[in-house]
């Protein structure tokens, strides 16, 4: 399933993007208004300058040729037309006076120049008045009148013109500069706003594309999960789970119905074994769960392996998640396991080989990934490595759980070559030997094959060799330890093999040997340092037994007697064809033990019914009539052989009960108040069969002679 985008990033991007656009839009408006204002001011200023120019031009016209001074001088030089020129002069003077007033408004800073103009005008006006009233006869009369200094007025006019030009140039230059600054600012703002808008549009498009892809991926994942019988849930912001397909409702039923009780409480009630770090609980609390497999016991007591995967919804703040739960048990193994126990054995063997390989491969991969993790790799590689390491952890758990599941309550059973065990023992014993102690592990005879756990046999032999070596060291003797394998009948007509571990040490105390003949090695034997309880347990679990003896003057011998390799198939066909003279219920959590007993009973024509759990045995006692019940003491669960014996006495009071156990000395005390017979597993098997045959001989043969063996 594609990981949902996180919730924080989109909000952040949209917020920053819109803020960016807003700021630069404001700047754009500000610069636009300012530029417009400057434009208006520039136009007004230019208008003012033009008006000033017009005034100055008019002033110049009134003063220059054909104007004020010209008319005055004509009036002086042309007495006949004096009045006409003086009249024209008068009009010029009035116009100049008006123009000077206007100039004062336009050039308030040039009062001196304007004053000079006014003074020159007044001087000419006074002289003109004098001229109007006087007849000039002599040049000397004319001279004082015309000797008016025009320089100040001319200079004033030039200054005014220059000032007007300077002012215009300076002001316009300033305005142009501001206009350029504003234009650049406006352009930047415009580009920024456009860029941000375009970026947001592209981002929105990408988000849309990712969202569509995620939706499509979810759809495809949902289809796939539907195909494999998975359930999909949606965890809402209110902490409630919504089921999105039928499988989810079928798998979790009432748990997902909305109720007044909080979901977490309902979960803890439904799965009382659930822990706080459980992936299912974590998923339903809205936390991310990559892909984890856990075993759950459902209210109907069925146990299922569920693969849990959850991804938070896009907006993490809401605490929602999409949860996918696939019933791995049902999809992978349940169908195969439902009918036939032998499939459990097959699966167990497959699981063991897979687990062994997976663990080795996982260790190799883990080192490789750890190495890559330490390197500076770019891109998505670090995330991939992290994911791979997580997957390895899941793989480890899955491997372990698969093994636990496949072998739960049952023996690790496989067919193996005895030579492999002895080769490995030889390799390891090099390190156990000391200078003066030789360890000789001999080759196994050809074709020596056993059924059971090779690791357990090897562990038992290591125990025996180490114990023999310790005995020699403690006695301060040089010596030799020999391990060899012989062919031997385990029981009459039951082929077997015997591992013999002999040493040249002081041998066993007689009480240890005597104790071992009647029962399992006692605590005192264990305390003696032999570790014989472990060896005994291994042998009994494989349907064999252990014997201790002292060789005449040559040290001790421990022999492990085991049945030869046999088919993993129960004797269903054989038993079905037998004439069943009696019905026996065999109850033992070890399939090896029930299978061995089944074979031996079959040889004497007695059909058996096997149960590998107390629950199944109690059910059988309620529904079937038996003539004999043989049960183990420790059934590896809450109920034991005591419950089987008690139920038999209650439901079928006339049926005898035999307890067949590894630890008969403990059982004697435990069954003190129950009417049972007790036999030790291992070397008391033959006695058990004889006693059973004797008990069954007293019972009438069943009417239904075709009652067949079946496994539960």
């Amino acid at each position: 399933m594609m990981a949902a985008p996180t919730g924080r990033k989109p909000t952040y991007v949209w917020g920053v993007g819109l803020l960016w656009i807003s700021v630069f839009t404001c700047i754009l408006f500000f610069t636009g208004f300012t530029a417009l204002n400057i434009l208006h001011r520039q136009q007004a200023f230019q208008q003012k300058i033009v008006q000033a120019d017009i005034i100055l031009v008019r002033l110049n016209n009134q003063l220059g040729y054909g104007g004020f001074i010209h008319n005055f001088k004509n009036a002086v030089l042309r007495p006949d037309e004096k009045d006409r020129y003086l009249d024209a002069f008068g009009q010029n003077a009035l116009a100049i006076k008006a123009l000077i007033e206007q100039t004062e408004q336009h050039f308030p800073d040039l009062t001196n120049e304007i004053k000079n103009l006014g003074e020159t005008l007044n001087e000419y006006t006074e002289n003109a008045e004098f001229l109007r009233q006087t007849e000039l006869r002599q040049p000397l009369d004319i001279d004082p009148i015309v000797r008016v200094n025009d320089d100040f007025a001319v200079q004033a006019l030039l200054n005014l013109l220059q000032s007007n030009r300077d002012q215009m140039t300076e002001t316009l230059s300033q305005m142009e500069s501001r206009k350029i600054v504003l234009s650049v600012g406006a352009a930047i703002s415009f580009i920024s706003a456009i860029t941000a808008t375009a970026g947001l549009l592209i981002y929105a498009r990408n988000r849309s594309r990712i969202f569509r892809a995620a939706v499509e991926e979810n759809r495809r994942t949902s289809e796939m999960i539907e195909d494999v019988g998975g359930a999909i849930f949606k965890l809402g912001s209110d902490g409630e789970v919504e089921v999105t397909n039928r499988k989810g409702r079928a798998m979790f039923g009432a748990l997902i119905e909305r109720q007044s009780v909080p979901l977490v409480d309902r979960m803890l009630e439904t799965f009382p074994e659930i822990a706080l770090d459980d992936p299912l609980l974590r998923a339903f609390l809205g936390r991310k769960v990559d892909s984890e497999i856990s075993l759950y016991t459902f209210p109907d007591q069925s146990q299922r392996y569920l693969r849990i995967f959850s991804a938070p919804l896009s907006n993490q703040n809401q605490g929602g998640a999409v949860i996918e739960i696939t019933d791995v048990t049902q999809n992978m193994v349940a169908e195969k396991l439902e009918d036939q126990n032998r499939n459990i054995l097959v699966l167990g063997q497959v699981a063991r080989s897979v687990v062994h390989d997976v663990r080795n491969v996982n260790a190799t991969l883990r080192f490789t990934l750890e190495r890559l993790k330490g390197q500076d790799l770019g891109g998505s590689t670090p995330a991939l490595i992290t994911n791979a390491l997580s997957a390895l952890s899941v793989s480890d758990k899955l491997a372990k759980r698969l093994l636990d599941f496949a072998t739960a309550g049952r023996d690790e059973v496989t067919n193996f070559e005895a030579s492999d065990v002895l080769t490995m023992l030889r390799s390891l014993s090099d390190g156990i030997a000391q200078d003066q102690i030789l360890i000789d592990v001999r080759k196994a005879p050809a074709g020596a094959r056993l059924t059971g756990s090779p690791n357990a046999v090897l562990a038992a032999l290591i125990n025996l060799v180490v114990n023999a070596r310790n005995a020699l060291v403690a006695a301060g003797q040089d010596g030799q330890i020999t391990v060899h394998l012989d062919s031997e009948e385990l029981h009459p007509s039951i082929p077997g093999w015997v591992f013999r571990v002999t040493d040249t040490g002081p041998g066993f105390p007689q009480e240890i040997i005597a104790g071992s003949r009647s029962s399992a090695p006692t605590r005192s034997a264990e305390g003696y340092g032999l570790g014989l309880s472990i060896v005994h347990s291994v042998a009994v679990d494989m349907g064999g037994y252990v014997q201790l003896s002292n060789r005449a003057g040559r040290g001790a011998e421990v022999s492990i007697h085991l049945p030869a390799h046999h088919s993993a198939e129960p004797l269903m066909q054989t038993a079905q064809t037998l004439h069943a003279s009696a019905r026996v219920l065999l109850v033992d959590d070890s399939m090896m033990v029930t299978r061995l007993l089944e074979r031996q009973f079959a040889k004497i024509g007695i059909a058996t019914h096997q149960s590998h759990s107390a629950k199944a045995a109690l059910l059988s006692l309620q529904t079937h009539q038996y003539d004999l019940v043989i049960t183990d003491y420790d059934l590896g669960e809450e109920q034991s052989g005591k419950d089987i014996a008690a139920a038999t006495h209650e439901l079928q009071p006339d049926v005898p009960v035999i307890v067949f156990t590894k630890t008969p000395e403990w059982a004697t005390e435990a069954f003190a108040h129950l009417n049972v017979e007790i036999f030790g597993k291992g070397n008391q098997t033959e006695t058990l069969i004889s006693r059973a045959k004797s008990l069954l001989a007293r019972s009438p043969e069943p009417a239904d002679a075709a009652f067949s063996t079946k496994n539960q």
Binding site: R359, R371, L428, D430, A459, R469
Partner: protein
Amino acid sequence: MARLLLCDDDPMYSLALSALLGDWGHSVKTTETAQEALDHLASHTVDLAILDVVMPGGGGVSLLHQIKDLYPNLPTIVCTGRDFLFETPLMEIGMEKADEKIKKTIDPADLLAVINRLLKQAKKVG
């Protein structure tokens, strides 16, 4: 940087572990048999050895004893993928000379800590 000797008959495991040890700054010599390991020790200086317990044609336990007889101060780690051996007396009796016994599935960080500790101890002794 320490000079490490790794002896394991599983070449993939050796390759991965030696690469990781190399990244941790160590120089690693990988060997697949006990004899190769002994030959290397005879002609090179080694600061720490890591030996597989179960190898065809001569196990790591025997190799451990030979190494400790010849080079008693060489820190030596034995490792195995057969976890059940840890439940036998072999670990205490046969491999008592090993400075550390680990499972092959050990977490790399723990392995690094073990190696660093042994090298530090050896340096103090040396």
